[in-house]
């Protein structure tokens, strides 16, 4: 502790350099935490899904619809306990700059299928009663400053025209992976407005036992194999994971960028530390003549690197954690549940430790091994 003043005094020698080096470490770890959180959020989204829920889509692709008449046939499949359906709407609100998902759902069966969507009972009843009603996530309500009972007009892009919905409920997800940035409206309203073509974008089924998933899926797909709309059924988790893979190998990309940033900052920090050490060759020699041992000088230089990297780590990692928490960031609904995890913070701390070793080790060894007579001669 008594040497800390010496370390801090040395760091204060070039305040701007120390500030910039610490800031670069903070920025590197902030970016690291951010990029890794993108990866972990996508991974959690891909892993989300009840083992008892299956999703049936058009086998040709998710943009193709299925007949609404499949609902009854699906209910009749052995092992299927409940069925619901939904349709992607794809409209724009206002100037369209703030994207959010709008999904037409069968209200009663959808809310029963997803107990993770928490909605006050009176608001649920209003949603079930009123055909042009909608429920929205808390975040969406806050972003646009909407209120209950307000009419909201969305311009349809897939289904053209102006669509006005009355907000009758505000849902809160009990699982952070569920997007609270959506507008859910009634599928029968969609059907009514577009002339009752009888379509569903996808079906969600609850089965009796997770072990039956493969058998049930096969039974369903076999049933519709030779129809005009063949189906593809899989677990909800596989369905969500397929969205994640649509981003390509994001994990590898983000990880590579993150490591490249950290490595670049390592070089910057190491360079700054070595400049510091080189400028103080004479002083290190003086300290050795006073009786500072090689080991102690090694420790002091490492401590300097430690103070900078730990400060940078606290600012960078802590800043990322607090900032995303405070702003409730979710990339406009693309990354629901975006939160810097404890594991990311721990890995970040490990990276900071490596940064400290990487940037401090060479100057520390140099200081420790400095031949004092040569150093004094060089200075004089």
């Amino acid at each position: 502790m008594k040497f800390l003043r010496l370390v801090l005094a040395n760091l204060g020698r070039h305040k701007l350099r120390t500030l910039l080096t610490t800031a670069s470490v903070a920025l590197a770890l902030f970016l690291f935490a951010t990029l890794r959180t993108v990866v972990t959020t996508l991974e959690s989204a891909a892993q989300f899904g009840s083992a008892r829920r299956l999703v049936t889509t058009n086998a040709t692709g998710i943009v193709f619809v299925l007949p609404l008449a499949y609902a009854n046939k699906l209910r009749a499949v052995p092992g299927v306990e409940a069925v619901t359906w939904a349709n992607w709407f794809g409209g724009r609100y206002g100037d369209g700059k703030r994207f959010f998902a709008q999904v037409a759902v069968d209200p009663e069966s959808y809310l029963a299928m997803y107990p993770e969507i928490s909605l006050p009972e009176d608001q649920k009843q209003a949603f079930l009663r009123e055909r042009s009603s909608a429920i929205v996530g808390r975040r969406l309500l806050d972003v646009f400053g909407w209120r209950l009972g307000q009419d909201v007009t969305i311009q349809g892009t897939i289904f053209s025209g102006d669509w006005t919905f009355t907000i009758r409920g505000v849902y809160t997800p009990t699982d952070p992976v569920i997007n609270d940035d959506m507008l859910l409206f009634r599928h029968d309203y969609l059907e009514e407005r577009i002339g009752r073509p009888g379509i569903a974008g996808w079906y969600v089924l609850r089965i009796d036992k997770p072990d039956n998933a493969a058998v049930v899926a096969k039974t369903i797909d076999d049933q519709f194999r030779n129809s005009s709309s063949p189906s593809k059924t899989g677990t909800e988790q596989a369905f969500n994971a397929s969205f994640a893979t649509m981003w390509g190998n994001v994990s590898l990309l983000m990880g590579t960028i993150g490591m490249a940033v950290v490595f670049a900052i390592l070089l910057v920090s190491a360079n700054a530390m070595m400049m510091n050490a080189r400028e103080r060759t004479g002083e290190v020699a003086v300290l050795k003549t006073i009786g500072f041992s090689d080991r102690r000088l090694f420790g002091l230089v490492m401590l300097e690197a430690g103070v900078m990297t730990i400060t940078g780590a606290v600012i960078g990692l802590g800043g990322a954690k607090l900032l995303y928490k405070a702003t409730n960031f979710n990339a406009a609904g693309f990354l629901p549940g975006f939160d810097v995890t404890t594991r990311t913070l721990m890995i970040g701390a490990g990276v900071a430790l490596l940064l400290m070793l990487g940037s401090g080790l060479v100057p520390a060894v140099r200081a420790a091994r400095l031949p004092v007579v040569q150093a004094l001669r060089r200075v004089e």
């Binding site: 006073i290 009786g291 500072f292 004089e380």
Partner: protein, 233 residues
Amino acid sequence: MALVEIRDVHKTFQRDTQRIEVFTDLTLDIAEGSFTALMGPSGSGKSTLLNLVAGLDKPTSGTVRVAGAEVSAMTAGQLAPWRARHIGFVFQQLNLLPVLTAYQNVELPLLLTRLSRKERDERIRIALGVVGLEDRLDHFPRQLSGGQEQRVAIARAIVADPTLVLLDEPTGQLDARSSQDVLGLLGRLNDEFRKTIIMVTHDARAADQAKTVLHLEKGVLVERQAIAGGATS
């Protein structure tokens, strides 16, 4: 009684392909409580001798003993604590750490001891009082004159009460008045506090302050001269 015993010391340096012999067979004693000036032309081995005594350098062969300890046989790990305990060193320049105040610079050797903060504070104030800078505790080196900087360096050299104070051209960068102040201070340290002092100098007036002057030429001790009235002015 000899505090410093140098026996049959041979020292060579390798500079590129050139082999430079500094000492071929140096033997000398320096008494406890003495004030010795080492004089001689450049390259005569004065600073090398000082470095050997401080354990900053090792002889190629021969032995260097200080207060009974064979410095020349110590490892780097043994030398650091030994220097902290027994040696106070003052250089011609670059003595003080510019980021530390006079107080903090003097405190450096005490950081290596087990003294409490209060005990350290007492010693620092005494040392800075001895060199007449008790009113410059919070001044940084850039706020001090050259002479004051050297006095702070001397305070740092004596604060841990070392066995031996070594000075390498302590007045080399100072004007006449500051030199006289510093030399007067060294005389007091020797007379009043019984500090054993070895000082390398080119300056005959500085050497006059010592009690003994050793003349070196090409690594050979050519003359030992006792100064009448040295270290009493």
